[in-house]
């Protein structure tokens, strides 16, 4: 029921009518990625083996092994079950006040240094390069510029890992890895809690779950937990700035 509803975000006449879904379009991206970079099919497995220990996650305390990921069934090849995030229900909220008044409301306020939006072609057939998420790249660059921070200042990245390939391409779009090297960050465990750029620190969309419209607000709450040292077993050491 959810997959056909989500597919309506694609072109009704030329995509949904021929059976395309968000899963099939991401499978296209993953196939193009593996072919272009001559990568093996298990290149993205590290994105499925990541954080646990989030008490409010859908899959709490569940460990996923590399073997389990690679033996899970295809949902739409080359995407396997553990490359996908589960759709589910949830709700999250954050209160924003002017930064100079924040201490009135909280003893541990977190400041939004900048936010930015950008848009891009949506259908993967349209943009010059389907593997470059221009909107993510442009919005991240604008936000970094306004906040006067660099990539090196980011302690954690709550990435939209709706599929393994999405997390990989977003890491590349923002600049944490050159094209074709996002999968290396996962393979080298650099996306884990104590890696170079921890992502999905409370389980991400795959383990916490993907309550679609609520997902980014959960991510905002998770960044607040990290920056205020309240992320428990999933705490990133010395977390100073988070990227959403």
């Amino acid at each position: 029921m959810v997959t056909p509803a989500l597919a309506k975000a694609l072109g009704a006449e030329n995509k949904v009518s021929v059976g395309d879904t968000m899963i099939s379009k991401n499978a296209d991206l993953m196939r193009i990625y593996l072919q272009r970079h001559d990568a093996p099919e298990d290149a993205l497995v590290g994105f499925s083996v990541n954080a646990k220990h989030n008490p409010i996650a859908l899959f709490r305390g569940r460990s996923v092994t590399t073997r389990e990921v690679l033996s899970s069934r295809y949902i739409h090849a080359p995407i396997r079950l553990f490359d996908c995030s589960p759709n589910c229900n949830g709700a999250a909220a954050v209160v924003l006040v002017p930064a100079d008044e924040a201490r009135v409301y909280s003893s541990h306020p977190v400041q939004i240094l900048a936010s930015s939006v950008a848009t891009d072609h949506f259908r993967i057939d349209d943009p010059p390069d389907p593997l470059m998420f221009e909107a993510a790249r442009n919005s991240a660059r604008a936000a970094f510029r306004r906040a006067n921070v660099n990539l090196e200042d980011v302690s954690l990245f709550e990435v939209h890992d709706t599929f393994s390939i999405t997390a990989c391409l977003l890491l590349e779009a923002v600049g944490f890895a050159p094209a074709g090297q996002g999968c290396r960050l996962a393979a080298d465990k650099e996306i884990r809690l104590h890696g170079k750029i921890p992502i999905a620190t409370m389980g991400g969309l795959k383990a916490r779950g993907h309550p679609i419209g609520a997902t980014a607000i959960y991510q905002a709450c998770e960044i607040v937990l990290q920056l205020t040292g309240r992320a428990g077993k999933n705490q990133v050491r010395n977390a100073k700035a988070g990227l959403l």
């Binding site: 029921m1 959810v2 509803a5 989500l6 309506k8 975000a9 008490p55 409010i56 996650a57 859908l58 589960p86 589910c88 229900n89 949830g90 709700a91 999250a92 909220a93 954050v94 209160v95 924003l96 006040v97 002017p98 008044e101 409301y105 909280s106 939004i112 936010s115 939006v117 949506f122 939209h160 709706t162 916490r208 779950g209 309550p211 679609i212 419209g213 609520a214 997902t215 980014a216 607000i217 959960y218 991510q219 905002a220 959403l244």
Partner: protein, 100 residues
């Protein structure tokens, strides 16, 4: 709010619950605006107009603007961005972003 396959509450009460928790945590009783991120409420639950409904359910005053934002998978982020903009611009002193 724990993420689950199914929740006992409908979207309106689910959203209102977390709004109240967040406002209690910030020790405030009123906000000047509420922005709701929701993508599929009308498709799956037959419910549109969640921003205003959640504001009502949470007991916020009528003057508080409640608006639903839908931008595909960036829906929650768009609601957060809108909330950030109204506070940063001075349009609102306090605002809440809710995703459901």
């Amino acid at each position: 709010m724990p993420v689950r396959k199914q929740q006992g509450d409908n979207l309106r009460t689910l959203g209102a619950k977390v709004v109240r928790v967040a406002m209690r945590d910030a020790r405030i009783r009123e906000v000047d605006g509420l922005f709701c991120g929701n993508m599929l409420g009308d498709e799956l639950q037959g419910q549109k107009h969640l921003g205003a409904l959640i504001a009502d359910e949470a007991g916020l005053l009528a003057r508080n603007r409640g608006a639903r934002r839908t931008v595909c998978f960036a829906t929650g982020a768009a609601a957060l961005r809108m909330t950030h903009m109204v506070v940063a611009s001075g349009e609102a002193d306090r605002a809440v972003a809710v995703g459901v």
